[in-house]
């Protein structure tokens, strides 16, 4: 019998696809049903944020950097403000620091709830998406109460925060924490022990810790591989040393562990927020910073722990009111680079690629800027 001729074909998981979060094109080389290689093509969402920021004053850069990673816009605001404050040696008042931490952690919870919803949706369970977003609405209401915006906040400014929280914020925040904490067991009940969920997530997308570090992967993806590296602990910024929280780590580095790590991080963030609310002092919410902020010439790289990993800004100033160079670095960039490494040669199906992409929680604006 003559040998059957088989050949590999290429399929485009194109920019328009319900599962690639944002516009990302993955060129999959397939051998039958198995994926041999996956090459990401990015740049569909490139808005040249860095070039724009070179032409804006420091205060104007903040709303632009909101769009750098809009799911966790507070972190984007914060990392830029941190860089500018380090350059200009601005002392941030304590109340502002507490408010910043509350907003950052609430944003992390909101981002992880979206992760929960979209991952479940990508795997076919369409209902948890609405449950996750229902809880996220509570947080969105809190943000709207504070700064008027639900997604791109322009709240954390150089020197502090832009406005104080209204008096109804604290009781509403405590109530939101209680509700979210009570719903987490429900989410775990739907999915954690579900045999279909386990079959789709366990053992898929294994990341080797040393390889992950070499590729610059950080955040929940790295912690799920067993490396206990959380910038809030290992390279502390703001007032995180004051809070008592655990760092969620898992050992296998597969999809299921990445999912578990993020659910546990929601719990830890709830802990931090309630501690911050307890210890919220009175005082100024913003240091006296000129409207045309002019830090002395110099350069600095600061990094924070975002929900997707390490988010950093490399800020170069030449003494004028506009930054000379704003190089932003997002966690999803490295994770998307890393994706072909864990897909190549493992014999995954397209369904697995979808699951891996979902649990990496890649947000395209962070990659393309």
């Amino acid at each position: 019998m003559p040998e059957l001729r088989t050949e590999e074909y290429q399929i485009n998981m194109g920019p328009h696809h319900p599962s690639t979060h944002g516009v990302c094109r993955l060129l999959l080389t397939m051998d039958g049903e198995k994926v041999v290689d996956a090459v990401p093509y990015v740049g569909y969402l490139h808005r040249s944020i860095e070039k724009i920021c070179e032409n804006r004053t420091y205060a104007m850069c903040i709303p632009i950097l909101d769009r750098f990673e809009y799911v966790t816009a507070m972190s984007c605001n914060y990392v830029f403000s941190l860089a500018a404050e380090k350059l200009g040696q601005v002392e941030v008042p304590e109340r502002a620091e507490y408010l910043r931490v509350i907003m950052l952690e609430l944003n992390r919870i909101a981002s992880h709830l979206i992760f929960f919803g979209t991952t479940a949706m990508d795997l076919g369970a369409l209902t948890p998406f609405l449950y996750g977003l229902r809880e996220r609405e509570l947080i969105m209401d809190l943000f709207e109460m504070t700064c008027g915006q639900r997604l791109t906040y322009n709240y954390i400014r150089v020197g502090g925060v832009s406005r104080d929280i209204p008096p109804e914020f604290v009781p509403k925040c405590r109530e939101a924490i209680k509700i979210i904490a009570s719903k987490l067991p429900d989410y775990e009940g739907i999915l954690n022990e579900n045999p279909i969920w386990l079959a789709r997530m366990k053992g898929i997308g294994h990341t080797d810790p040393q390889q992950a570090i070499a590729w610059g992967v950080s955040g929940p993806v790295l912690r799920a591989s067993g490396v206990k590296y959380d910038l809030r602990r290992d390279d502390p910024y703001s007032i995180y040393p004051k809070f008592d929280f655990d760092v969620a780590v898992c050992w296998n580095g597969d999809n299921y562990d990445r999912y578990l790590v993020r659910i546990e991080e929601i719990r830890q963030s709830l802990k931090i927020v309630s501690q911050a609310l307890d210890g919220l002092p009175d005082g100024d919410i913003r240091a006296k910073v000129k409207a045309k902020f002019k830090p002395p010439a110099g350069e600095v790289y600061v990094r924070i722990e975002n929900s997707r990993g390490e988010m950093g800004v490399y800020l170069v100033s030449d003494g004028s009111e506009k930054p000379l160079r704003v190089k932003t670095r997002g966690g999803s960039y490295n994770q998307l680079q890393f994706l072909p490494e864990i897909v190549r040669g493992r014999g995954y199906l397209i369904a697995d690629i979808v699951a891996i992409f979902a649990t990496f929680d890649v947000i395209m604006p962070e990659v393309d800027r």
Partner: protein
């Protein structure tokens, strides 16, 4: 080793290849010559006292007078962080790739090439990353780049 001791350690052990720039901050900023890049970075990664295994950031900077490539590295085990830069001129800027030392540099170097025009030698996969494949309108992030629809902000 703390951040403060790091500067002293590097200045002592790296034969002056890394010259310290004064930033007044705990994380030191060094300057490196392009020819020493591969060797020094390999030593930084493998040094048992330092173990810089994590490349945080890498990018190009156009200061108006020169091009620079800045690297930020960190150690996941030793809680250390440092930055260093390589200074290049505007004519034929080129640099060695460090993807064999930190594979994370792969996309960073691709982006740096297409935005700044800094050629990266021996890169495994030099394709445009963010810009379209048929982009031929120069290197956008350079200070002297201009295009008909690039509108600068008016002075306030």
């Amino acid at each position: 080793m703390t951040q403060q001791e790091l500067t002293a350690y590097i200045l002592a052990n790296y034969d002056g290849k890394l010259t310290l720039l004064d930033t007044g901050r705990a994380e030191p900023m060094f300057e490196l010559k392009p020819d020493d890049l591969l060797e020094v970075t390999r030593r930084l990664r493998d040094d048992p006292q330092l173990k810089f295994d994590f490349l945080c950031n890498m990018g190009g900077v156009d200061t108006g007078q020169r091009l620079e490539v800045v690297y930020s590295i960190a150690s996941t085990t030793k809680h250390l962080r440092m930055d260093f830069k390589v200074v290049l001129g505007y004519e034929n800027p080129s640099i060695e790739t460090i993807t064999e030392i930190w594979p994370a540099a792969n996309w960073y170097e691709r982006e740096m090439y297409e935005l700044y025009g800094i050629e990266v030698k021996n890169h495994p996969d030099m394709r445009p990353l963010l810009l379209p494949e048929d982009w031929n309108q120069g290197f956008p992030m350079r200070k002297n780049w201009d295009a008909p629809d690039f509108i600068r902000m008016p002075e306030l």
